[in-house]
């Protein structure tokens, strides 16, 4: 237990070397890895809540996420052997065509990853058809599109229109977000959901996956 607490501290501090070393020690002593992961995940949720309150900022979240990644890198072979970790759904994220603003998209990708989802981050200025092709390749359940400008919001509409034209609309959920967007706009273009911020996006993904 004491070692797990030390690991949590190392994770929050972003000390990746210490995280990896402690993770190896836990494996060597035969620890219940699922229980360890659950504790770390709970700590990461707390990190997310602190960020939501702006008690901490993005660099601190990135440090903790780096620590978590280091632990999972060491645990991964053991987890695959025992099929301990359930694989959550895949979400393809990116900003709409023409939109180079990435902070909102980055936060959504980061917090979905922290929540355990597999994230395929297509970056900024994504061609509408690329969203669809990459979702097909990754067998993604959800496409998440961010727009920070009114002139790039039609890029999200294009993704929905192309999905319909290709007969794929029922195979993937589409969620949208970004400063100038709204629930009313999401409803108007026929998106499956709208999120105001990164924490809202994680909740929406949970809801959409549950609805699928």
């Amino acid at each position: 237990m004491e070692r797990v607490d030390t690991l949590k501290t190392a994770m929050v501090d972003g000390d990746e070397e210490a995280c990896a070393a402690l993770a190896r020690q836990l494996i060597a002593q035969g620890a219940d890895l699922k229980a360890v992961i659950d504790k770390l995940a709970a700590e990461m949720e707390e990190v997310g809540r602190r960020f939501e309150r702006m008690d901490i900022f993005l660099p601190e979240v990135l440090l903790a996420a780096g620590g978590m990644t280091a632990v999972m890198g060491v645990f991964a072979p053991q987890l695959e052997k025992g099929a301990i970790r359930e694989r959550k759904s895949t979400v393809v994220v990116g900003t709409a065509r023409g939109d180079m603003h990435q902070i909102g998209k980055d936060l959504v990708a980061l917090f979905l990853g922290i929540a355990g989802y597999r994230v395929v981050d297509l970056g900024t200025d994504v061609d509408p058809l690329d969203f669809i092709h990459r979702a097909e390749e990754a067998q993604a359940e959800i496409i998440a599109i961010s727009s920070l400008m009114t002139t790039t919001m039609p890029g999200a509409t294009e993704v929905l229109e192309l999905l319909k034209d290709k007969g794929l609309r029922d195979t993937v959920k589409v969620m949208v977000g970004g400063a100038p967007t709204s629930q009313a706009w999401a409803d108007m273009i026929g998106a499956d959901g709208w999120a105001e911020d990164s924490s809202g996006a994680v909740e929406l993904v949970k809801e959409l996956i549950g609805r699928a």
Binding site: F57, P59, E60, L62, G98, I103, T151, T152
Partner: protein
Amino acid sequence: MAYRMWEMLERAHSGPFMEEAEFLNKRIPKAMRAVINKYGVKYDPARPVPADDALADAVWQAACEFFLEVGVYNQDTHRVMHFTQEELDEALYCTPSSYRVGEGRDSRVFGHRDVEDSRPPFVIFSPDITYDEVDHLQACLAYLKEPLLDGICSPLLDEFQGRPIQSRTPWEIGGSLEHAMNLRHAARLAGVPGVFLVAVGTAETDVAQVAVSDPTWGVRPSDGRLVGSITEMMTNNAMLNKGAHYQMYGSFSGNLTGAIYGAYAGGAEGTAILEAAYHLKGLLVHGCQFQQNFPFHLKYGSNTGREMLWVVSLYSQAVARNTHLVQDSNGFANAGPGTDMLLYETAAHALTSTVSGANLWESAPARNKHHNHGTPLEARLGAEVGHAVARQAMTRAQANEIVNALLAKYEEKIPQAPVGQAFQELYDVRKAVPKTEYLDLYKRVKEELHELGIEFLY
């Protein structure tokens, strides 16, 4: 001038390779933490307008060191542009401290200001938001009627001939031309045909910006243009294209940057240092003549909260005290038009910026996200506050007291700020003048500001 333009641009293609995630997630936070610690920069919530010269100088030193350490990342080539101390010093020395912008009798001097400067700020009026296409000309006209307006970055369009404007399509070109023509036409109708236009905001892409360059109906060399920074210390080829076009066309180029409180640079300290460092990016990478600053809070998208006013004041002082760069400060308020909260926020932002050495760019209401939600009247108040506090030679200490009094009126309401009313509800659109109801509110708030110590000129 554009500092060694082609030599700088070459680095966007020949600089060292780096993965984007490495640059953003590791290099920026690490370098920022290092300079914050080295220079001992510390946020003080009791002083939204700090009066500590050593602190302002420390922010400037930290910004220079951060800029030289981190460089600028080109997202298209995945290469980092690096600069030397000598280049930085040369560029800062050689850049002019003022420019005559606009044309003929409507031209003005847009220049550097000092901390607690008694010269009034150059005021650019701008709502930074989109309007209905049918009301766009009248909205431009309403702004251009404002007597304290030195320049305008006018209302934007998001539809062209009834169709949504989409980036990189002919509708963006069409909407951008319509915007440019409406604005030029409105300037003539307002009797200020040579006024300085920072135009046109509807043209998001490099292609659309090139399309609106025309000395007869569009953007003139005597006008201003913007190159926007998108993510922390990043650029891309489209931005470099814009900058290169502006230089060769002869426009006054502004470096439009918004350091994000809570994002990769961290809290208030990192946000202030990053915004100061952006001045160097504008000077060396984009050859800009002025810096247009709009740091904002990640959660609220505004810069009128306590921590954001501290950021605004501190980087403005840092730049004003250590360079002769031309800078302006863009207000982003939480509340919308027609509310007293917006007027308090605009006054606090204008006051903070003016005494800290900045020019003004007022103002984007309602978190810059609600269509039609912006009017010239709140910008007028910001301009009047700026002129008043400069003329009365207000000190930072006096400003701090007033800003604290203003914050007491609105800071608790920030999370639930009212959206307010649209331009069409608050203005007689056909006459392009404010309605009595909003004018009465403006007069009441102006009286409250006077009681707090702002000596309005009229």
